[in-house]
């Protein structure tokens, strides 16, 4: 472990001083010495290189402090729980971004200037090397601070892009309640998706096309709450088209209704007629049955006549073989 002997050194300095005084050696001891030191400081070229280098460093330090201070607000404003104090509007964020960018540009320009100047002056090799390494350090510092900024920015951009992507799927833009409903939006979207599939296919293409220019130019100060006029017009056109479609659908439905009513009436008539026909068919059926009986009986009578001859009237009380009903009757067709 290292031992700090600075105090020992200072003690040695005192010892040497007193010893020199005692010996009467007038080499740089006492009050004159300290004045000499002061004098030696001022005429010595402070080296404006290092003072400017330190200036640049302090600038970068200010930028870093500024970014760190507002970092929380910058990122936090995206949470849904918003307090009045924590909220940062987009204009403020854009302001921060712009300021940071100009700052960084000036810093790197300053570093470049220092570098060229260091090259122009003709110091010794060692001093030159030292200065270039110092400038490397400063550049590295600037890079680290820029990383802070770019991280913040990346988070912001990502969130905006995601939000744009989700928000395009809603049919009607709700300017005020959009942010608070973004959570509901997500659940709405799947159901809306299925209904408006043909509509939404247009949007993914529009979203990248629109977000590209928007990412580049944040300067127009638009938030998601308001829609640009083109969007409004587009929505109106779409509305019109939808209404037309709805109307035509409605007419068709009416027509179909009428036809269905007709069909039902015709069917009623049909049913009546069929019932009538049924009655007639029944009576015909009866008649035919009766006719069939009569013919049957007639046929039998004829057969009997043929086999037994014509029927004789009964003489001696003996019965003839003729059935009674035919006994008195004249066989038809036989001459008497």
């Amino acid at each position: 472990m290292a031992v700090d002997i600075t105090l020992l050194f200072r003690a040695s300095v005192k010892t040497v001083k007193t010893r020199n005084k005692a010996l009467g050696v007038a080499v740089g001891g006492g009050v004159d010495g300290s004045r000499d030191e002061l004098f030696r400081r001022s005429p010595r070229p402070k080296g404006d290189f290092s003072s400017r280098a330190r200036e640049v460093i302090s600038h970068i330090g200010k930028l870093r402090d500024f970014l760190l201070e507002h970092r929380k607000d910058y990122i936090n404003a995206y949470s849904h729980v918003m307090s009045e104090y924590g909220r940062m509007t987009d204009t403020e964020r854009d302001q921060i971004d712009q300021d940071a960018q100009t700052f960084m540009r000036t810093c790197s320009e300053a570093i470049q200037q220092l570098r060229t100047q260091a090259h122009k002056e003709m110091p010794s090799q060692q001093v030159k090397e030292h200065r270039s390494v110092v400038l490397d350090f400063i550049e590295d510092y600037l890079k680290r601070v820029c990383k802070l900024y770019s991280e913040q920015r990346a988070i912001r951009v990502k969130r905006v892009v995601d939000k744009k992507r989700l928000s395009k799927l809603e049919p009607e833009p709700h300017t005020k309640t959009r942010e608070s409903m973004s959570s509901e939006k997500v659940s709405q979207n799947p159901s809306q998706d299925s209904e408006e599939k043909p509509v939404t296919e247009e949007y993914p293409e529009k979203v990248p096309a629109e977000s590209q220019p928007e990412l580049g130019t944040w300067g127009d100060g638009k938030g998601d709450d308001e829609l640009s006029p083109e969007e409004i017009q587009m929505f109106e056109q779409e509305n019109q088209r939808l209404i037309g479609e709805m109307n035509s659908l409605f007419d068709e439905v009416r027509q179909i209704e009428g036809r269905v009513v007709e069909i039902s009436r015709l069917q009623e008539i049909f049913t009546e007629k069929v019932l009538q026909q049924e009655a007639e068919i029944d009576s015909i059926h009866q008649l035919v049955v009766g006719a069939t009986e009569n013919i049957k009986e007639g046929n039998e009578d004829i057969r009997e006549v043929r086999t037994f001859g014509p029927p004789r009237p009964p003489q001696c009380g003996t019965k003839s073989g003729w059935p009674d009903h035919l006994a008195g009757a004249q066989p038809p067709g036989l001459p008497t």
């Binding site: 002997i5 040695s12 040497v16 290189f49 870093r64 010794s124 001093v127 030292h130 390494v133 110092v134």
Partner: protein, 641 residues
């Protein structure tokens, strides 16, 4: 919080501790906290060669940049004034360094000065600086002065060496040369003890010290014990109390420090090896975790033409982030070759995956315009993009290891290192030899003269009885014919005579190596590591002498070899060296330090040993790190006298 985290890695990673200490120092001596939107601060780092050696294995240039260091310069170089920038110094408190620092103060090079001394600075030198600061009217500019106590180099999580710059001062040769004077020895010992002291301060623990008698290690132990004791007694300035203690507070056991002398085992540094890290150290130019390769271009598909092959110098850093290295640095070489092949295949599969993704992306991106699909693709793209750096890194590592392993393989094939390894293992384990030693030495194809010398020395060292005069003459003649220098043999003879007097020579245990057939699986899968004719040898776990000693001491086993080791406990009130250890329980943590030099083979052996034991940690340190070539050179110099 930090204390709990350190307790979880209690005593394990010296590398982490040293890195944390360095980072704190670079952060103006204030603990370093990572802040993604922090303002940049810049500073320059000034170090001497010692500081450079300490920092370079731990922090890469990129990591230095991350700490805000714009320039890193050597102290003794021409430096221009850079206004308005604080300077962090990390130097040893030597005379020249102090002088140069005072000069800097006088020249008003920087705006403020943070002085950090690698090891503690003396009061008088501090006054010298104070004097200069006063003279230059720069007293207020000296913002902080620290004693860092970091005077050691950490190479691995559990391995450290003392120094790299002045290793001749503490080398094996320096300690063992016959003409060393007492004062010189004192200096060497002081250097070693200073570094060890810094090591324990950084570790945050006071160890229990065991050492063998009658060796340089004993001298180190005595001095270290004294230094620790003095520091503990000085309650005001003690470095081992309060929050400096760190994780030591949470582990109830103290670590064991085993100090061994190189002389107990001279065969291991000469040994030919078979594990990846040790091979790289032995065969290639490797130090401070950096390997320097000379690549000749066009080895495999040389362009038709008479253009000579150009040599490319490439250097690679083998760091803790390199997962392949961490996994395989202790593996036998054939396994390494296979693994590189596997890694390459899995990398290709991943690459294909990315390419496929790219083509899918290309097709889909045209049809869809909707943003949800786009964000889906964006997510895929983001993941592919983020995995790209990983893939590229993987590719870089695969290339690195392919190059290194190929270089090693070339050496193995050219020098028949596998044959040497097998033979030496047999010698060291006293199994029967199938080929006579003379044959190998006289064989012109197998190995460089140095390899043969190594083999012979190992044979000589491990032989129970010295070979007869006639045999010896025969061997010597064969060696000279092969082009060897016989000086090391001289020294080893002397050493052996001395060692025999002192104690029985170390035995290396029973072990065998099993050749797994000449045609390895690697060759069958058609990899680029054609190990034709190279034996696929498998290492069986054996304990080298150092490991055995550690095992005995750590587990409190009784063994004639270690029973009479001395015992030091700096925390005990009565400072006497009783040979009776007070602590009867086995130790959980141990630090093995070899006075006189160490190498990766011993390190790997210790790592393998401790792998089997749950919850125990070992740290390995040595006064210098040498490979066989460097050691032979030292032996040769010693033998010349």
């Amino acid at each position: 919080m930090v204390g709990v985290k350190m307790a979880a890695a209690a005593g394990a990673s010296i590398r982490e501790r040293q890195t944390v200490a360095l980072k704190r120092m670079l952060n103006f001596n204030v603990p370093h906290v990572k802040n993604s939107t922090g303002e940049p601060v810049w500073k320059v780092l000034i170090y001497d060669r010692f500081g450079q050696d300490i920092i370079s294995p731990l922090l890469s240039v990129k990591e230095l940049r991350d700490m805000g260091i714009t320039l890193h310069l050597l102290l003794h170089s021409d430096r221009d004034p850079i206004p308005d920038v604080p300077a962090v110094y990390f130097v040893m408190p030597t005379e020249e360094n102090i002088d140069r620092m005072c000069q800097d103060l006088r020249n008003q090079l920087y705006e403020s000065y943070y002085l950090n001394f690698i090891s503690a600075i003396s009061r008088s030198k501090l006054e010298d600086i104070a004097n200069a600061a006063l003279a230059a009217s720069a007293v207020t500019q000296v913002a902080k002065v620290f004693d860092q106590y970091l005077n050691f180099i950490t190479l691995e999580d559990d391995m450290f060496v003392l120094c790299n710059q002045n290793k001749e001062l503490v080398s094996y040769r320096a300690i063992n040369r016959p003409d060393i004077t007492d004062t010189e020895m004192e200096t060497v010992m002081d250097t070693i003890v200073d570094s060890l002291f810094c090591f324990f301060v950084t570790l945050g623990a006071v160890p229990i010290i065991r050492c063998s008698r009658g060796t340089a290690a004993e001298m180190v132990a005595v001095k270290l014990d004294k230094k620790l004791r003095e520091n503990l007694r000085d309650a005001r300035n003690s470095l081992f109390t309060g929050d400096t203690l760190g994780a030591g507070q949470f582990s109830f056991q103290r670590p064991l420090l085993v100090l061994v002398d190189r002389n107990i085992d001279l065969a291991t540094p000469l040994h030919h090896t078979w594990t990846y890290q040790a091979l790289v150290h032995d065969v290639l130019d490797f130090h401070l975790n950096r390997v320097n390769l000379e690549e000749s271009l066009g080895v495999e598909n040389s362009p038709a033409g008479a253009r000579p092959k150009r040599k490319n110098k490439k250097s690679y850093d083998l760091t803790p982030v390199d997962k392949f290295w961490q996994k395989h640095k202790g593996s036998p070489f054939p396994e390494v070759a296979e693994s590189v092949q596997q890694e390459l295949e899995s990398y290709r599969a991943q690459e294909d995956e990315v390419k496929r993704l790219k083509s899918i992306m290309g097709l889909e991106g045209e049809d869809e315009g909707a943003i949800s699909m786009l964000s889906d693709n964006t997510a895929k793209l983001t993941s592919a993009v983020s995995s790209l750096p990983e893939l590229l890194e993987k590719k870089r590592l695969i290339d690195l290891h392919t190059n290194v392993a190929t270089a090693v393989l070339e050496h193995i094939k050219a020098r028949k290192l596998d044959v040497y390894f097998e033979y030496e293992e047999k010698i060291m384990s006293k199994t029967t030899l199938d080929k006579s030693l003379l044959d190998i030495i006289s064989d012109p194809d197998a190995g460089t003269p140095e390899d043969k010398m190594r083999l012979f020395l190992i044979y000589y060292i491990s032989a129970q009885q010295a070979p007869s005069e006639a045999d010896l003459e025969q061997y010597k003649k064969a060696l000279i014919d092969a082009g060897c220098n016989l000086n090391p043999l001289q020294y080893i003879k002397q050493w052996k005579a001395f060692a025999k007097m002192a104690s029985a020579p170390a035995s290396y245990g029973n072990t065998t190596t099993k050749p797994m057939g000449l045609l390895s699986r690697v060759m069958n899968t058609g990899s680029q590591f054609v190990m034709e004719g190279v034996k696929n040898l498998v290492l069986k776990q054996q304990n080298l002498p150092v490991t055995r000693i550690l095992d005995n001491l750590m587990e409190m086993k009784s063994n004639p070899e270690t029973d009479d080791y001395r015992y030091f406990d700096p925390k005990m009130l009565r400072g006497n060296d009783s040979s009776v250890p007070r602590n009867k329980n086995p130790f959980q943590e141990a630090i093995v330090f070899v006075v006189g030099g160490g190498n990766y083979i011993e390190y790997q052996n210790l790592v393998d040993y401790i792998k089997g034991k749950q919850g125990k940690h070992i740290l390995y340190g040595c006064s210098e790190l040498f490979n066989a070539t460097q050691f032979i050179k030292q032996l040769s110099q010693l033998g010349q006298k």
